[in-house]
Amino acid sequence: METLGYLMQGFEVALNPLNLGLALLGAFLGTIIGALPGLGPSNGVAILIPLAFSLRLPPATALIMLTSVYYGAMYGGRISSILLNIPGDEPALMTTLDGYPMAKQGKAGEALAISAVSSFVGGLIATFGLLLFAPLLAKFALFFGPAEYFVLFVLAFTTIGGISSKNQFKSLLAASIGLMISTIGLDPATGEPRYTLNQMELFEGVNFLVAIVGLFAISEILFFLEDSHAGTTVKVTVNKFKLKWKELFALTWTTLRSSVIGFVAGVLPGAGASLGSFLSYTIEKRLVDHDGTFGTGDPRGVAAPEAGNNAAAGGALVPMLTLGVPGSGTTAVLLAMLMSMNITPGPLLFQQHPDVVWGLIAALFIGNFMLLILNLPLVGFFAKLLMVPSHVLMPIVAIVGLIGIYSISHSAFDLFVMIAFGVGGWLLRKLDVPLVPIILGILLGQLMEDNLRRALNISNGDWTVLWRSPLCIGLWVMAITGLVLPFFLGKFFRVKQRETEGDVPD
């Protein structure tokens, strides 16, 4: 089996001491980022990309480190969901349902341990899934021509809002703003400057890292200013816990079922981790909640969404790596990371950069183990991070964000643009306009236009080329379904999600 051979090569890449060390560091940093209040996985990875770029790490190494951060942040986010009933990001919402009641009963330690173990299993199963399905999908994607790619990008934009999207028009609006930003600069085909306002700095276009860090980090600071309650530091304690093997084994089936559900949800376009945790919790509740204990601190109610969302996070990497189309905010940020290293994901990635792909997959295996090893003994320490006050944290976020961007180009102009993006991001978030489609637009805009123009070049200007092949028609059907479905399903999902407390950004 050739996959196995590649995987062994991948492990060789991932197990080299530098990469292994950075994976550990990444998992550690990631958990801190996830545990700190107000910094979700997308923000955390976004702030660190410029650094990985400036340090000129080899692509495989940078990718390994940042995916460890991503995994770590996912886990770290659980700490505030369980201890404070504040989900760090949307997928963590379902974990609060049973995690917080457990913490109130003095079983915070158990809840965190269960979350660590089920996340581990979910992540592991998803990595196996990635290993099996990604190469298949990559082979299939080799049949894609420019027309198919163009429609695929359309599909990405119509589904990025997700199944629970509140207002599809706002998500499309955000996508078109992002795409418009991507057209700034010299047109690659003709060399004609577009929307540059005759500024030399804009001839190369807007650097997507500048946009991402501005949109995520700076807007976050403005949000904190808006509701900064001075002196409201929280006290958190984690009990010493004894987790019995028997209790863990009782969760085996819940965890396995939820992992598979989560993985499938993650692979689907536009679904992502939120749907993964939501579906696995709901299905598990239907299946095993005979005594009505879900929602009152049932360990299975923690294991299910945790396995589900970690598996979904792994699943979301399948379309991201093979098609270059991310399905969620964080995978969009991971795509940005790849593109900052001049690597364009897609079917050719598996041929051109096998070391990156397989190194990454091996790193996911390793990252999973590291997180488990790191989290079981250190959870008390990570929980203490919840007490870091925002007036210490937010200035650090600002400085690291600014310096990260400065170290790329040493240009004050980029910093001004970044701050402008931050202000714009705050305004858009206030208006409930999602930011992820903007990022995706900036990232994919050039590719999308390029594919459209190539398709029309081949067909000599005949637009029907965009819906001539069966593959194109299939993609259009999916794109339109993804656009229309939230109008019908959205209400249902939102009611379900609103059963939990709190308003979740991102």
Binding site: L55, F169, K170, L172, L173, A175, S176, I177, L179, M180, T183, D187, A189, T190, G191, E192, R194, Y195, I218, I221, L222, L225, E226, S228, H229, A230, G231, P389, S390, H391, V392, M394, P395, I396, A398, I399, V400, L402, I403, Y406, S407, A412, L415, F416, M418, I419, G422, V423, W426, K430, L431, D432, M448, E449, L452, R453, R454, L456, N457, G461
Partner: protein
């Protein structure tokens, strides 16, 4: 109401954006679409979504009161000043000042804010400039020393 204003602004943006695209030179030997078609498409999508917002706006969000808005303007001004003065002042001084002001605005006491400022500027400098070897501007301090 907020959505209506936003929708109107976006409609204006769509119009300006598409109008600007009219003037792009397709060059000779160009592809059938040229540099203007994709922008036209984007302008159309933005216009449609903006018109939807004009017709069917969501409820207005809760905008912060003037006092907090002022705070935000101040913070943005400080960040812009940081961006503009970073090279001249040098990383350590600029960061110390910025973090102190940000900390104050986020509700820290003067003492905590200053201590955070000193701590952050020194630690980040040590981490980036010395440990990671990403040179940060030395500015004023560099000229004095």
């Amino acid at each position: 109401m907020s959505d209506r204003i936003f929708g109107a602004l976006m409609l204006l943006l769509a119009a300006t954006y598409s109008w600007t695209a009219r003037g792009f030179d397709p060059g000779f030997m160009s592809d059938p679409l040229g540099p203007s078609t994709f922008p036209y498409l984007l302008g159309a999508v933005l216009a449609i979504t903006a018109i939807y917002l004009l017709l069917r706006p969501d409820d207005s969000p809760h905008w912060p009161p003037a006092k907090i808005l002022l705070k935000m303007v101040l913070v943005i001004a400080v960040l812009l000043a940081y961006a503009g003065l970073l090279e001249w002042l040098g990383f350590i001084i600029a960061t110390l000042l910025t973090v102190t002001v940000l900390g104050r605005q986020l509700g820290a006491s003067i003492k905590t804010a200053v201590l955070t400022g000193i701590g952050v500027s020194l630690v980040v400098f040590g981490l980036f400039d010395i440990l990671l070897e990403l040179p940060l501007p030395s500015g004023l301090l560099g000229r004095i020393m």
